[in-house]
């Protein structure tokens, strides 16, 4: 039976396709950091659901026929956007000129020289929100310009709080006390007190960072050292864990991302919900899809020991190191982040601006009654850790925090483990 020889070989060939997908990377880079050249460029951004981005690009193209911008829509999922942009940089492709970066990617893209340093003196950043500007710099050098901002809001059932004569809470403790009264009401039959985003994904990092900051702690301090083994951080995590243990947070919420949280709130299952501004219009829809239309309002996030601190969402624009026509790209960024354009995108796409004046515009406030609260939320918001290997850091946070809230690890053990992992991750850098 000589043919036996062939078998392991053919088997290995079948198996080879397993690894065939892996490879690439490495290579020298011939980065040009000089900002020069004019001509057509591209703009790589997430899926333009509302058409607001397309509208901005069309406006630009109308006035710049020889420096046209082509919109490249990446998948809606943030991880996939990052992956495509990283791949683009790894192959040193000039396909993407202007990159629409989630603001937590700024450090990684800057440190790897995937994006060029931008000239500070060509911008006037005084009208911009200072918390958003923090995410644009890496080691005091400017690498991106904030184009959108985002902050968490505490949605609450105004109707129920009125019945017990309560004001929106500023601390978690007050929130628990209000819940104790509200949940006794016949109208609150079967409801739960509170939910945020606790599934094991980026949203958990966001919610954990808010708990730590709200207790006066920090995940990574100003010198870039991890500090999650502090008493404050422990207090923050214990509040999350205690929420699940006491049933203030419903059991199902451990699988909540933004959408399931929204479904629970607009289905009338929650008294309080931590979510982003996008939920406002859907919760207020009067077509019968929401049970809480007209019955809710928003407040800044409650704190734990101090005042509440939101995690800062938002996107910044940067210029790829490997693209041509960088001067056009810089002009386009200035145009895109201008007051007029940000206002238009807020009106058409409900995309929160990075210029503080727009939050005070009475006309916009009528259209978006949450703007004032959102401004407060963003002004006091803290960015998530600004580290080069953010991808590794957020995964470590999700691992340990999830183990704690699902009851597999004691909070102090989880934080000790997290501290060690972060030290190792950040020390390598």
């Amino acid at each position: 039976m000589k043919t036996l020889r062939w078998r392991p070989v053919s088997v290995m060939m079948v198996a080879a396709f397993v690894v065939a997908g892996c490879g690439g990377g490495g290579g020298d880079s011939s980065t040009s950091s000089e900002i020069s050249g004019r001509g057509p460029i591209t703009f790589a951004t997430g899926k333009d659901v509302t058409g607001a981005v397309t509208q901005a690009v069309e406006t630009w193209n109308g006035s710049h026929p020889d420096q046209r911008v082509r919109l490249i829509e990446l998948p809606a999922d943030g991880d996939q956007q990052r992956q495509q942009m990283v791949q683009n940089a790894q192959t040193e492709s000039g396909a993407f000129t202007v990159l629409d970066l989630d603001n937590v990617w700024n450090a990684e893209f800057a440190a790897n020289r995937w994006v060029v340093e931008l000239p500070k003196d060509e911008f006037d950043f005084s009208p911009f929100l200072e918390s958003a500007m923090k995410t644009a710099r890496y080691r005091d050098r400017l690498f991106s310009v904030p184009a959108y901002s985002d902050g968490g809001l505490l949605y609450y059932r105004k109707d129920l709080l009125n019945k017990v004569d309560a004001q929106p809470p500023t601390t978690r403790k007050q929130m628990r006390e209000i819940c104790a009264k509200v949940l006794k009401l016949p109208a609150a039959e079967g409801m739960s007190c509170y939910a945020g985003q606790h599934a094991k994904y980026e949203g958990l990092t966001v919610n954990f960072a808010e708990a730590v900051h709200g207790a006066g702690g920090q995940i990574v301090n100003d010198q870039g050292q991890p500090t999650v083994d502090s008493q404050e951080a422990l207090r923050g995590l214990e509040t999350m864990v205690e929420g699940f243990r006491s049933g203030i947070i419903p059991r199902a919420a451990i699988a909540y991302k933004e959408q399931p949280n929204k479904r629970a709130f607009i289905g009338g299952e929650l008294v309080f919900s931590r979510n982003w501004p996008f939920m406002w219009s859907q919760a207020n829809a009067d077509d019968g899809s929401s049970k809480v239309a007209g019955k809710f309002a928003v407040a800044p996030l409650p704190g734990i020991t101090g005042k509440g601190v939101s995690s800062l969402g938002g996107h910044n624009l940067a210029i790829s190191s490997f693209a041509e026509n960088k001067a056009t790209a810089l002009d386009f960024i200035k145009f895109y982040t201008s007051k007029k354009q940000q206002r238009q995108r807020l009106v058409k796409g409900s995309l929160a601006p990075t210029r503080s004046a727009l939050y005070d515009d009475p006309e916009l406030q009528r259209k978006y009654p949450y703007l004032d609260t959102l401004k407060k939320s963003i002004q006091s918001a803290e960015p998530r850790p600004r580290v080069v290997n953010y991808g590794d850091v957020t995964l470590a946070i999700q691992d340990e925090v999830y183990a704690a809230i699902s009851g597999d690890k004691k909070p102090d053990k989880a934080l000790n483990a997290l501290q060690r992992r972060l030290e190792k991750l950040i020390e390598q850098k």
């Binding site: 078998r7 080879a16 690894v19 490495g26 990052r82 059991r251 699988a255 399931p260 991808g391 995964l395």
Partner: protein, 346 residues
């Protein structure tokens, strides 16, 4: 890897000789013609081997080579990542097998193995049952055959999404069970969810291959056994099963190779970074997305070695007929195949 070095000449001798050498040839005559035949044969297949070298061997070697390096681990004084990559030899493998990454690796390793064993076992039983049903002559057989294949026809990513809705906290599964199981967060429940969806999707594949095997079994064998007074169970156990074994073994082998690479189903159904369902492919993916190409290549290489080992052992133990060897045997002597089929593993 060393096994592949002698491929260019030997297979040609084996596969080429039955056609050219008259049966019952003596040893001396054979060796005289073999050198010429072998040379011609290797010249004829060399384009194929070249293509295989480019699309199969190169990626394997490139991945292996890449796994010996790490990159992007250090920053210079201005905070920029130091470019280029450092050679670390087998350091990445040591980290994975015994070092800081060991816990995650072995967890993924056992998950992969567990999913493979459980899903393939269930699929084999269900697939067999499906094939037996589809093999019967009854009204609406065509409809049953077509509908059984529907799960197999749906792309895995789409079926994973369907099952994710079913297993959502407020989904159908909980409504039917009348309980609040958190399928995506409870360790054991999420394993069950993945196994259910995987078996649902791939049992029809086994069923289809087994059905093909059933259809070549001659009716006379069954009739003879019935005349001899064998019960239905005895006929299944002593006639159907041994005769369908070649097809069944190939189906199981393919399913095993597929299940060992399992990625999209747990990734979409349960999510990334879930210890309870993380497989080796997901580990490699997760490292690659975080721009750790060295460790990603190392995980992929380890998975490759594991798949190759399992496949090799499987072929050795059960004699899976992957390359259609039985067909060439059949042309030689049809009866011999049936005799062998009835006996134990060759």
């Amino acid at each position: 890897m060393s096994m592949t070095t002698d491929t260019p000449t030997n297979p040609e001798v084996d596969s080429g000789s039955p056609g050219h050498t008259p049966t019952g040839s003596r040893k001396g005559r054979r060796s005289g013609s073999v050198t010429g035949t072998a040379r011609l044969a290797s010249a004829l297949v060399s384009p194929t081997l070249l293509v295989l070298a480019v699309v199969v061997m190169y990626p394997i070697i490139a991945a292996l080579y890449q796994s010996l390096f790490v990159s992007g681990q250090r920053l210079d004084a201005q905070g920029f990542v130091v470019e280029g990559r450092q050679f670390v030899g087998l350091g990445t493998y040591a980290d994975i097998l015994f070092g800081p990454a060991a816990e995650r690796f072995w967890n993924a390793f056992w998950n992969t193995t567990f999913f493979t064993v459980v899903t393939v076992a269930l699929e084999t039983v269900l697939g067999m049952a499906m094939a037996l049903v589809m093999h019967q002559a009854f009204r609406g057989r065509g409809l049953v055959r077509a509908s059984v294949l529907v799960p197999w026809a749906i792309p895995t990513a789409v079926s994973a999404l369907l099952w994710r809705w079913i297993f959502a906290p407020d989904g159908v599964a909980n409504a039917i069970l009348d309980q609040q199981v958190l399928w995506s967060s409870q360790a054991f429940a999420s394993k069950i969810a993945v196994i259910t969806a995987e078996v649902w999707k791939t049992a029809p594949f086994v069923g289809l291959l087994v059905l093909a095997g059933l259809q070549v079994i001659s009716r006379e064998v069954h009739e003879a056994a019935t005349v001899d007074g064998a019960s239905a169970w005895r006929r299944f156990w002593h006639i159907t099963l041994p005769l369908v074994k070649p097809a069944l073994v190939v189906a199981v082998l393919f399913r095993m190779l597929d299940a060992l690479r399992m990625f999209d189903l747990p990734f979409i159904l349960i999510g990334q970074q879930k210890d309870s369902v993380e497989t080796l492919s997901m580990l490699a993916f997760s490292e690659a997305t975080n721009v750790h190409y060295g460790p990603a290549a190392a995980y992929a290489t380890l998975l490759f070695a594991y798949v190759a080992l399992i496949a090799f052992v499987f072929v050795k133990l059960l004699g899976a007929d992957v390359i259609g060897e039985a067909r060439s045997q059949v042309t030689k002597s049809r009866g011999a195949r049936f005799r062998r089929g009835k006996g134990s593993a060759r």
